[in-house]
Chain length 348, copies 2
Amino acid sequence: MVTLKDVAERAGVSPATVSYVLRGGRHVSKWTDERVRKAANELGYATNMAARSLKYGRTGVIELVVRGLDVSSIYAKMVTHVKHACSDRGYRSLVMQTEQDSRTLRDAVGEINSQSCDGMLLDAFGLPKDVIDRLNGNRAIVLLDDLSKRPAFDTVVMPHRESSLIATRYLIERGCRRIAFVGADRSDLQVAAGSGEDSARSLRLEGYLQAMEEAGLAVRPEWLIPVDWRYFVGVDVGRGLACDGRLDVDGVVCCNDSLAIGLIRGLADAGARVPDDVMVVGSDGVTVGEFTVPRLSTVALDVPDLVNKGLGMLIERIDGTYDGEPRRVTAGCSLVAKESAGESASAD
Amino acid sequence: MVTLKDVAERAGVSPATVSYVLRGGRHVSKWTDERVRKAANELGYATNMAARSLKYGRTGVIELVVRGLDVSSIYAKMVTHVKHACSDRGYRSLVMQTEQDSRTLRDAVGEINSQSCDGMLLDAFGLPKDVIDRLNGNRAIVLLDDLSKRPAFDTVVMPHRESSLIATRYLIERGCRRIAFVGADRSDLQVAAGSGEDSARSLRLEGYLQAMEEAGLAVRPEWLIPVDWRYFVGVDVGRGLACDGRLDVDGVVCCNDSLAIGLIRGLADAGARVPDDVMVVGSDGVTVGEFTVPRLSTVALDVPDLVNKGLGMLIERIDGTYDGEPRRVTAGCSLVAKESAGESASAD
DNA sequence: TTGTATGCGTTATCAT
DNA sequence: ATGATAACGCATACAA
């Protein structure tokens, strides 16, 4: 490898001078400047980041740690926004993908504790409590969607309740009366009550229940379908809904877009039409939802808002601008009304 | 930060001993071992990776550099596979997202040149020649889809020609005779011929033309539609196809799945049904294609194959096992026959 | 305007 | 079985 020293020798100056030329910081004669740059170029010099980080105590890197980019492409949007926001603030951003298995999570935790990065935006969804506890408390970490009662870190939470509320209200407004909810049931509320900690599932269900109650609509137990929020699960649920006459719903609120897309697929398998036979609303606002048949109505997460809030807190922690109690803020969301909930197919 | 020295002091031993206990490498007495581990635990010690990398000369990190995870979710699949493959081989993997703009690309190049990682899997799609040239030739780099005549690095190329060939043959087999091709036209062939370098577009078109010729089918110029491979472009093309009677095609081969999904959307806007009025085949094999209405027929990229080949070459370069001429291998692909090309909707 | 010297945290070599 | 020490490449305080 080409080092500062190599460049210095070639340019006939000291390593210090090379450093000053390349990084700035003090005045050098034009003659020296040119010689050094020329030498660096000819040798193909590049700063050794390990050495700089060691000296500096920081890496200039912010890591985004998410489980499975392929689980929901909403993460893909986050990656893009984080990248831009980091660039704007002089950081580089890297993405680390974790699985649910504890090994990768442990790796991720080690990552931050070992100062491979200055700060970390860490998706807490499905993150076991003990892993969170193992995080070094005085590192710069912002969690995404940590719903614990007494969070140890700053966290940006998703608008779970709000999202379901908006979606359900919307279906009601569109004329639905018998609305199913896919992704949680009352047992989730019990778990939440028992542990004293909300969950994404319980909050989402609450939003739905609130909207139904507001409208004076009864909720039948079989309308609450507690499943994982994944494509293929949605397919099964859709088939079930269409085949099982008992359910007889005219609207479905899904906890995310994967579920909704799968559900529409399953309904189609069973011969049910969306929105004519049943209306469907998702949540997230994935890009592909704008191109499905029918186009997906959804409550879109405000990703730029989420990223700005998260990164804002993170950088305050890194810079030491803020050093107080863990903060909790909520990301925004907004309704995107499309054909799957009966909106007429406009030209765009 | 807690350093080796801190742990050593607390355990009453030397830093060297702590290092040996934690990393292994020589025998230590049980008594010392215990004391050191206890101290490290109590202090919450974590290895400083910058220091280790500096000493070691390697980071244990492999970076995957792709442009826009959201451009095509095929990248999301790649991320997952790269992650697993790296884990298996003792590396950590990080993802860096670039944009087409030269600034981010320059950053990415700097990344590898500055030894932030031991090796890099770099998506060459849309990568300007001069950026590639700026890459340090003796670093471990494997390019994804570098089609240049005389590549400077090992590269895994996508099965462009093969993919179109398979897709077109399949449509012909399904009974199509008037097949459009979306994503390139003959001007791409001219550009390729002029520069002496193939492009993804020219290769894909060649595959299509070959299949048509094999079957003795004429190709009308207006069937070749040279557009970007993106969702919203597909929508426009779909609307155009359905409205413009002149085209009158019974099958469409799309250069990727985004285009295909958009196209189906556009066709639906114009009242055309897939596959009854026109059959559609995409390319990539994105997950969501299995859940669209209709399910998307596509030529799926063999992502595990791609990743294995790429990472295999990369690690040989890192280890110095191979030091010869740049190699070029092609990733596999296979037809996934679904409803959008008239396959009956089976239960799964 | 430029050069010298020191230390960041780790690991490997030598010595004990 | 363990400790002292040097070196990795860079950035900076200090000296000239």
